[in-house]
């Protein structure tokens, strides 16, 4: 059991596909960042996902996908001191950032355009 299950979280989507989880995060976050599978958040949760994995920030909340073998993918958010630190860490890394204004148009992940940067990121 990861630390996530012991934290106070909000469920935004449950028992859905990973693709739908990604699209929800892209549409419902103020800022969207893309991370590689295995990206570690909080103390010990390594994000499971199909790249590119969207992680969002909305206010002080970190919005992220959470996948379990028997229950599908969830979209969770956590709003506490640690989520602020995680959002700051994403901003510092600032790779593949898609701002709200950009994502209103077609984002790279949904446009069907080659995902060279994301693909390279996770194939290495």
């Amino acid at each position: 059991m990861s630390c996530i299950e012991q934290m106070k979280y909000t469920i935004h989507l449950q028992k859905t596909s990973f693709k739908e989880a990604r699209e929800y995060i892209e549409k419902n976050s103020d800022e969207v960042y893309y991370v590689s599978p295995g990206y570690k958040i909080f103390k010990d949760y390594y994000i499971i996902g199909v790249p590119p994995i969207a992680v969002g920030a909305k206010g002080n909340s970190l919005i992220f996908p959470y996948t379990k073998p028997c229950h599908g993918s969830f979209v969770l958010s956590i709003d506490n001191e640690d989520s602020i630190k995680e959002i700051d860490r994403l901003r510092e890394t600032d790779k593949g950032k898609v701002t709200t204004s950009v994502k209103k148009s077609k984002s790279p992940a949904s446009s069907g355009a080659p995902l060279a940067s994301y693909g390279d990121m996770w194939k290495k």
Partner: protein
Amino acid sequence: MTGVKVLLMLGCPEVPIQTSIALYLSHKLNKSGFDVTVAGNDAVIKLLKVSDSDGYYVKKMVNLDKTLEDIIEKRLDFDICFAFMHNDSGMTFAATMSAISQAKMYSVIFGRNAEALEEAIEFDCVKIVAKDVHNPTRLKNKLDKVMEEIAK
């Protein structure tokens, strides 16, 4: 093939053929000299332990989350991975494994949604597909051919 490390990464065990194929594949690979580890969640591990209570077919069983953590943290890796999947979650875990590991990937795809899952896979892998739920024979036969190739 002595010492070649193989991971059987199991998904949700609700489709019956998964457990029987995992036991079969583990046993065949062990007999061929591979170093086989089977990873799954608690339900998977319990099913395997009851089915193979003396550990005759499966020599090593590990927790899936812990195994992925060890691979991400570079404490562990495998040469070959058979990723079992019959739902979107299984495919998501397999995509993660493909991204974090150096292992050659084999996707073992079964169940009623096998064809749609096969099409959804974007990572580089060999796909072994059988749209079966209860009868493991067709999937077993396909895996026999794959094992012949691997053992060459």
